[in-house]
């Protein structure tokens, strides 16, 4: 009797444990199913490489290249902000901060990473956009540059905290050996510690990128929203995420527009999936290399 109950409970837990897999597969299934109709309605090649996104025109045109380019530009731009500042912050916390500064900075960075993206969007709209508009004397501050900067700021805590973890995993003996050979702190940092933590740092960058690519509300509010091929960083753009968020409300269920928004979601999902797989692969290799794998 007892045995039966124990077994049933174990089976129940086993089933529930598959919830994540179930939802992940569910997401994949829904995205494929809802984007499939465009294969019959549109030319896939044109969908991916077309430069005109006029979903509500007559006749409508569905080319998502401008949206993908916008996501690419904004993501690359954000990297210029969050890589130096994020890694710099991690190095400071790990190498230069006193114990008290460390005890302050580490939780602060973690808490800051919880600021909701809508708040970054709000800040970008009210402060950063007017500032950029004035500095560069351009017609609108809502453009790719502003979006890049705000997204970059948003991703700093992600990059900083994961990089800092990687730096703190570097064995002390590496550092001591370097000092013993007469290297100073900077040389040790650049030639020993950073290379030893390189894969962890790259993981942080990839995860930061993944977060930026998938970020919705911030870009929806500050990128300007023009679905045209970006020519310069001062152009308003419309990345993939904000296209979905802005247009899903208007798209009639079952229309080509509706299905193409799901197709954009599918592409977005696949991109972040690849990023996460890369991050996972790198961090696994690195754990083995430093002998951290149990």
């Amino acid at each position: 009797m007892y045995n039966l109950k124990e077994r049933l409970i174990k089976i129940l837990f086993t089933v529930l444990a598959f919830a994540s897999l179930f939802f992940l597969l569910g997401i994949v299934f829904v995205l494929f199913k809802e984007s499939l109709p465009i294969v019959f309605e549109l030319n896939i090649f044109k969908f991916l490489t077309g430069t005109h996104w006029y979903p509500t025109h007559e006749p409508a045109e569905f080319g998502i290249l401008p949206l993908m380019m916008a996501s690419l530009w904004v993501t690359v731009g954000a990297m210029f902000v969050c890589i130096p500042l994020g890694i710099g912050t991690a190095l400071y916390v790990n190498e230069l901060a006193s114990l008290r500064q460390k005890q302050f900075l580490k939780p602060v960075i973690e808490i800051l990473s919880g600021i909701p993206s809508i708040v970054y969007g709000f800040f970008g709209m009210l402060i950063m956009a007017p500032l950029i508009q004035q500095i560069f004397n351009i017609p609108t501050g809502l453009n790719a540059l502003t979006a890049s900067i705000v997204l970059g700021i948003m991703a700093i805590p992600t990059v900083a905290s994961i990089s800092e973890d990687a730096l703190s995993f570097v064995p002390k003996s590496f550092k001591e050996a370097s000092y013993a050979l007469g290297a100073n702190r900077w040389q040790t940092l650049i030639k020993v510690i950073i290379p030893a933590a390189a894969s962890g740092i790259s993981t942080s960058i990839i995860l930061g990128m993944s977060r930026v690519v998938g970020e919705t509300m911030t870009v929806l509010m500050v990128s300007g929203g023009a679905a045209v091929m970006p020519r310069s960083f001062f152009d308003p753009v419309r990345p993939m995420t904000s296209t979905i968020a802005a247009e899903m409300g208007e798209a009639a269920v079952g229309s080509i527009h509706y299905h193409s928004l799901f197709a954009i979601g599918l592409i977005l999902f696949l991109v972040t999936l690849v990023f996460n797989a890369f991050a996972e692969m790198i961090s696994r290799k690195y754990r083995i290399k430093l002998g951290l794998d149990r």
Partner: protein
């Protein structure tokens, strides 16, 4: 000499980057507090919006965010805890565990707007829940599931093996051990995970965009099938819709402040608790 100069230069660059980071991040918080504080009043927190969202309070949005968040936790906590218990207490190491781990990691990386699409297709349309608290809560619940699993797993792992052995030695079965010895010991850790997820769920906008949120609703929700106002969505709507930005922006500042206070307070409490709890077991 040359080495010393390079080192000084390098270290000042690193210090500079920390300063810039702090200026940005602390600046955002400072800005919202300083501009939002003047809007906050008892009336703002407890009354309904008036004059086409240009005056009055934001109580329905606060209530809506509360319902959505509670719903998400009610859905994700039992599932997440069960998953963590399986991975930590029952699972044989191997193929199945790897698959589950992989799916948790990947689910954690899915963009929030994609969760919104999933919620729209499955809960709103397929299951027919409509744009409602229920659809929004379930969508947010899936979004926070990976975080709840990881936190619960960490908490279960921190329970010393001796507690399990003592319970088993007294003749308790594995389930009795888990229920009466392991989970109670892990509760503080699980709670911090839950609190952190509350902060996350309360601040998310994209997943509720097509599953739960609405801008124009004057009263309070009446059932789990009502659509709701929610703080993050309200900020977005105030900034992008409506015709009186000069009246709407201060209200948006007020909402941003409430949201920020909820999220930061909640996560600060959780992080401090967790750090205490972690060191309690290390030493």
């Amino acid at each position: 000499m040359k080495n010393k100069i390079i080192q000084a230069l390098g270290f000042s660059l690193i210090t500079l980057s920390v300063i810039i980071t702090l200026i940005f991040l602390v600046g955002i918080i400072y800005l919202i507090i300083s501009k939002g504080i003047s809007v906050i009043s008892w009336e703002f927190l407890t009354s309904v919006p008036r004059k086409g969202m240009t005056a009055g309070g934001v109580a329905p949005a606060i209530v809506g965010t509360f319902y959505l968040t509670v719903g998400a936790v009610l859905f994700a906590l039992p599932l997440g805890l069960a998953c963590a218990v399986y991975l930590n207490e029952y699972s044989p190491k191997g193929f199945i565990v790897n698959i589950i781990r992989m799916s948790i990691n990947n689910l954690a990386g899915v963009p929030s707007v994609v969760f919104g699409l999933f919620g729209l297709a499955v809960f709103v349309k397929f299951l027919g829940f409509g744009v409602s608290i229920l659809s929004g809560s379930l969508t947010l619940g899936i979004l926070i599931l990976p975080a709840i699993i990881s936190a619960s797993q960490e908490a279960l792992m921190a329970v010393p093996q001796s507690i399990r052995e003592a319970s088993l030695a007294l003749g308790a079965t594995q389930w009795q051990t888990i229920r009466k010895a392991v989970i109670p010991a892990a509760i503080p850790g699980i709670m911090t995970g839950v609190i952190l997820s509350i902060g996350r769920a309360a601040g998310e906008t994209a997943p509720i965009l097509f599953t739960a949120a609405t801008f124009y609703k004057r009263g309070y929700p009446t059932s789990i099938f009502s659509e709701v106002m929610a703080l993050p969505y309200h900020i977005y709507a105030l900034m992008t819709e409506g015709t009186k930005p000069d009246l709407q922006t201060p209200i948006a500042y007020g909402c941003a402040l409430i949201l920020l206070v909820i999220v930061l307070l909640v996560s600060a409490v959780a992080i401090i608790l967790r750090n205490k709890y972690r060191s309690a077991y290390v030493h």
